[in-house]
Each structure stands twice: as C-alpha cells, then as structure tokens.
C-alpha cells in the first residue's frame, strides 16, 4: 500500500455521528464551574469546622493549658484558608494555555504540578506544626509532672505512640510530595531534551 493510499484510508475512515451543540458546551461549562466551586467549598468547610471546634473548646474553657496552642492552630487554619483562596481558586481558569505548542503545554503543566507539590508542605503542612509541637510539649510536661508512676508509664507509651504516628504520617506525606516532584522534574528534563533536538 502506497503512502498516499495509507493517508487517504486514514482520512476517509467511517465516523460515528457525535453531535455537540452549543447548549451542551454551555451546560458543560456550568458543570465545570460547579465542580471547582464544590471542591473549594469542601476545603473551606473543613477549615471552618476545625476553627469552630477549636473556638468552642477555648470558649467553654476545656483544656485551659492548651488555650494558646489552640489559638495558634486556629491562626494556622485561617492562614491555610487564605492560601486556598489565592492558590486554588485561580484554577477556575484553564491551567495551561490551550493554544500553546504541545511540548510547551506539557512543560507548563508539569512545572505547575511540580511547584504545587514542592510548595504544598510549606503552606498546607508547616503552618500546623508550631501549634502541634506546642501541644505535644504541654502534654509531655503534664505526663512528666504526674505523681502516679503507673499512670505516668501508660501516658508515656501513649505519648510515644502519638509522636511516632505523627512522624510516620507527616514523613509519608513529605515523601509523597518529594517523589511526585522528582518524577515531574524527570518529565520536565525530558521535554527540555525534546526541545533541544
């Protein structure tokens, strides 16, 4: 089969009739915006629920020794809410420029994702750390000053369990972000090599 014959066959292949009307497109646009809004609202509700719970504990005087770290935790949630507002809501717009050349588009997408992964721990995890460590410090102090030896041993075990679990959890989250960013860096390098061919 000759080259023009292959191209002709390709271009004359039978097609199913897939109709897409302007009405369909406008409905899809509405559904797309609704999905973005729902995702943002879910993030905001999560932070607001935490702020409300922390605020109630402070207001009603539970755990008085934890009052200031809890206030710091509320501040961290407010900071994350602000970051969500300025970072995530921007993605209502298409992430890449749709009319870019393919390699530039892919590179832009990979860089955006890499930057998001590299920076996520800074604005989504780190803000909670000071309050978390402060609470751990207060808890450790309370355990060490407890007069009952048997109760003290049990509490130390529980404390150690919480610390190990926190290290494993945050370590896994950090590793997840770091591996994702490394994989994306590899893709970006490969796209740069393609650009240089």
């Amino acid at each position: 089969m000759s080259e023009p014959d292959i191209k002709t066959r390709w271009q004359t292949q039978p097609m199913e009739d897939i109709a897409v009307s302007l009405f369909d497109l406008q409905a899809r646009a509405r559904s797309f915006r609704a999905r973005v809004r729902a995702r943002n609202v879910a993030l905001i509700l999560y932070s607001l629920a935490n702020i409300a719970a922390g605020g109630a504990l402070i207001w009603y005087g539970y755990f008085p020794s934890m009052r200031y770290p809890m206030l710091l935790m509320i501040a961290a949630h407010l900071f994350v809410l602000w970051q969500v507002a300025i970072r995530v809501s921007l993605r209502d717009q298409p992430a890449g420029l749709p009319g870019q050349a393919l390699i530039d588009f892919l590179k832009g997408e990979s860089e955006r994702q890499r930057d998001a992964l590299s920076a996520a721990w800074l604005w989504y995890i780190f803000p909670f750390m000071p309050a978390f460590l402060w609470e751990l410090g207060i808890w450790a102090n309370a355990i060490l000053s407890h007069p009952d030896g048997a109760a003290k041993t049990g509490n130390i075990r529980l404390f150690a369990l919480v610390v190990v679990a926190a290290i494993l959890f945050w370590g896994a989250v950090w590793l997840f972000f770091a591996r994702g960013a490394k994989r994306l860096k590899g893709q970006i390098d490969a796209l740069d090599r393609l650009r240089g061919e």
């Binding site: 080259e3 066959r9 897939i18």
Partner: protein, 167 residues
C-alpha cells in the same frame, strides 16, 4: 467573529479530524465520545483567547492534542513507547493479500495508541497530511526533529503495509 461563530466555523472545517484524533487516544467507544466532547468544550473556551496568533488549523490541533494529552496524563498509561521502541504486531492476517480498509485503519490506530508524546501526535498529523512545518508548530518540535520522526514513521508504515503482508 465571536467565540460561538469561531467555534462553529472550526468544527465545520475540522469536526471529522477531531473525531479521528480522539480515536487515536482512546480505544473504548464511550471514552472516545467523552474525549470528543471534552475537546469541543476546550476548543469553544479557547476561542475567548484566540486572536489569530497562528493559523486556525494550528490552533485547533494544538487545543485538541493538549486536551487529549491532559486526559491521557490523568489516566496515567505507563505502557506507552517511542517510535524506536514500538513492538510491531505480527501480520499473519494479511498473509493472503491486500488488507481491507477497516483492517488498515484498526492497524494504524493500534500503532498510534501505543505511542507516547510527541511521537503519537507526529504520526497522527502526518496521516492528516500536514507538512513538517505545521507539525513543528503544533508539537513544538524543531523541523529536524519532525523530519527524523516522519522518516521513522514512513519506515514503520512500509514494514507494516508493504512487507508486512509477506512476513
């Protein structure tokens, strides 16, 4: 011309090509239909920023391929290969003579579906009869890189559709 009119004009001219494009990214008929709609949506939205910075054809293919590649990335298909590494299917079915139209199309789609970016896109655009300059504009590859790939594609097609029948 407004966004809706530009979109209608583009679809009037490139509608069938967009369907062929979608079939070169997805095997399943439902996924093809979904991708066609996704491409139309992206194209319609894109005309709010199109001001003749490149030809309409280049713009339509860029938007369509970028949309399809994004969808493919979300699905994370790890088994894609380059033109150099593609394992060619055996051609036992063709041994008795010339292959039929549907069989030829299926064979081409099978080859394209296995290719990763940008080899996949170069092969599709080559089959759509775009020249090397336009393929470079759409993919972002240099003319030399496009020419190298087209040479490999021609060799692959020759093996598949000329000698393939006698293997």
């Amino acid at each position: 011309m407004g966004q809706d009119e530009q979109y209608k004009s583009a679809v009037g001219e490139f509608g069938p090509a967009l369907q062929r494009l979608a079939k070169s990214y997805e095997r399943d008929a439902d996924l093809v239909r979904d991708l066609v709609q996704e491409i139309h949506f992206a194209l319609w939205r894109s005309f709010s920023t199109y001001s003749g910075q490149c030809s309409l054809r280049t713009w339509v293919y860029r938007v369509a391929h970028n949309t399809a590649v994004s969808q493919r990335l979300r699905r994370r298909r790890p088994d894609l290969v380059s033109l150099d590494d593609i394992a060619e299917p055996s051609s036992r079915d063709d041994a008795e003579g010339a292959i039929g139209h549907a069989q030829a199309i299926a064979k081409l789609q099978g080859l394209i579906l296995k290719l990763k970016a940008p080899d996949n896109q170069v092969m599709q655009l080559y089959l759509e009869d775009l020249d090397a300059g336009e393929i470079g504009d759409i993919t972002g590859l240099s003319s030399g890189a496009v020419a190298t790939r087209i040479h490999r594609i021609k060799a692959l097609l020759a093996r598949q559709f000329d000698e393939g029948g006698r293997r």
